[in-house]
């Protein structure tokens, strides 16, 4: 009986585990290994097995005497030697952080309103939130390029307003502003959905109880609604922050020369510079940084529990 039960558990959890193993763990390991190798002459990695020019045969070139010709720490030292990489990391975290914060501030009231609206409208409203997903990502980004472009009504209206008070026209496209606006736009639903899923489950009786016990409107929010919604806030923030951090298409199209993010650099290493090992180093550093942040967040979350009065 017990054996059957654990077998069943394995049958259910096995396939997803295997999937994760194959499509996440193994590529990560390959990449971690690639970070210690040299780039090949025409991209890719310097092969271990190749035609030996002396013998003219395919053979394993690496051995105890010459491993330094094949494995190196140089890619890592290169990352730390020049501050521009760390600076780009910080800038990307900054972009992703701002995006997450703006998404949170915009989504919270929206998710709350949807969660408190009559039950029959809720599904419809949620459908409207995810409606943009029905059109292609690039099309939506190009639409924003038109909106923000100098001939767009949005930019023209703003510049006309500025002209009235005597300020020179500004350019909206190809700026930090444009990148963040579109990052927020693209990721908004990923924040709204987990927040809504959380807020919808809240028991309104708790708010009545808090009010009955003397809590005014704002205190009810900060003492009851907000702490109970934290799991949704964390989930939404992770769903926005991590993809925003690795985004390269939006900065590519709207960022101009200094709108570059870490994702652009990684893409460049793999596709343009053909330096896979350094691209791998950048990816691994990014993964480590995100894991460190998640760990830090969890530690803070733990510390909050069961604190005294």
């Amino acid at each position: 009986m017990a054996k059957n039960k654990s077998l069943g558990r394995w049958l259910i959890s096995g396939p997803p585990l295997l999937y994760l193993l194959i499509f996440f763990a193994i590529p990560t390991l390959i990449m971690a290994f690639a970070a210690f190798r040299f780039p090949g002459d025409y991209g890719g990695l310097l092969p271990f097995i190749d035609i030996n020019p002396e013998s003219g045969k395919n053979e394993l070139l690496i051995h105890a005497g010459n491993w330094q010709e094949f494995l190196t720490f140089e890619n890592f030292s290169r990352f730390f030697e020049d501050t521009i990489y760390v600076e780009l990391f910080i800038k990307s975290f900054w972009y992703a952080g701002i995006t997450t914060l703006v998404c949170l501030c915009m989504s919270y009231p929206l998710a709350w309103l949807i969660a408190r609206s009559p039950k029959k409208y809720r599904d419809l409203l949620i459908l409207l939130v995810i409606l943009p997903f029905w059109s292609n990502f690039l099309i939506r980004v190009y639409a924003w390029m038109i909106i923000l472009g100098p001939q767009g009504y949005f930019a023209m209206t703003i510049n006309q307003g500025l002209a009235l008070v005597g300020i020179a026209p500004i350019q909206l496209m190809y700026s930090h502003f444009a990148v963040i606006v579109v990052l927020v736009y693209v990721h908004l639903p990923f924040m709204v959905l987990p927040l809504y899923a959380n807020l919808e489950k809240h028991d309104v009786a708790l708010l009545d109880a808090a009010q009955d016990l003397g809590a005014s409107g704002w205190r009810r929010f900060w003492k009851i609604t907000w702490p109970l919604s934290l799991p949704g806030v964390w989930a939404g923030s992770a769903l926005v922050f991590i993809p925003a951090l690795g985004m390269f298409a939006v900065p590519d199209l709207l960022g101009g020369t200094d709108g570059m993010m870490i994702g652009n650099l990684i893409k460049q290493q793999f596709l343009d510079s053909r330096d896979w090992p350094f691209g791998s180093v950048l990816s691994i550093m990014l993964t480590l940084a995100v894991l460190m942040m998640a760990g830090l967040g969890m530690m803070i979350g733990r510390g909050r529990q069961r604190n005294a009065l």
């Binding site: 009545d208 808090a210 016990l213 003397g214 702490p227 109970l228």
Partner: protein, 362 residues
Amino acid sequence: MALLEIRDVVKQFGDFTAVNHVSLSVEAGEFFTLLGPSGCGKTTLLRMLAGFEQPDSGEIILDGVNVAGVPPEKRPVHTVFQNYALFPHMTVAQNIAFPLKMANVPSEELKQRVAEVLEDVQLTPFAQRFPHEMSGGQRQRVAIARALVNRPRLLLLDEPLSALDAKLREEMQIELINLQKEVGITFVYVTHDQGEALALSHRIAVMNKGQVAQLDVPEVIYSHPKSRFVADFIGQCNLLDGTIVGIGHDRMQVEIAGVGIAETLLLPDAKVGQKGTLTLRPEKIKLAASLPLDVADEVHFKGKVHDCLYLGDVTMYVIELENGILVETMLPNSAPGRAKFFDDNDLVELAWRYDAGHFILS
């Protein structure tokens, strides 16, 4: 001056009247109960006292102040909600400290008062637990402690024991009585359980369809129900329809159709020919194989056993009178070794004193 006065309060939802011209007053220190069937407007009345609903007309006066328009958080009234509504992300101690924090009580005093009230409800060892780590009865006590800790003028309890099992409910009833005596806070208690109301209250308002059907001390509510509804709702009661056929100087004769004449207490404004209902508690009826006739002040009937219900401490006998009317009576099973005195279809005799019942004009 009463602590709480409700004057002619009406509350409507659409064209449905949930509370219909209710007036009553509650004295300071009283354990006052609103009793009534489901949907009679008890919770609505309570929510108006707490401030969550506004009366459509009428006034609520608390401590001499009309509280119309005062929001719930500003009223010196706290509520124990039916499903407790404990804050799941706070420990027991934090839950109880909540109203004190909202009142900006300094932290030293706050800790001391939380400790005191935890002691009162015997939850000191559980202070650091979360609500989901507690049993139903313990959660109940947390909810009561949380509502009491800031010493409200009025404590409202909405069916606080309805989610507990029978045994625990009895224990909690005794605890509630003691707690109320100890803290001296006025309780307004809502229940649809008549036994609970009788056991706990100083006074009871029986409600029906948004109106107060009768307001009195438990003994009077039980023994002198003013209406058929109250008689039927409170405890077991025989309701015998009849007509007044004679009036004496302190009692009157009532004809119960097809059975005979029964003597009962005189009603002040009774007239011959009026119809009504004789209410008679089962435990006030004597039952035996044969009873002496002609005992002074007694009413005497014959019947046969229709049904027996063994209830443990007593056995309920349903007796069929000559015209087919069923009367419930009960005998205590106190004699050793005996639990049943009669079997179905045994011929028996019934008797009750003229003042055992109570005639209600219809």
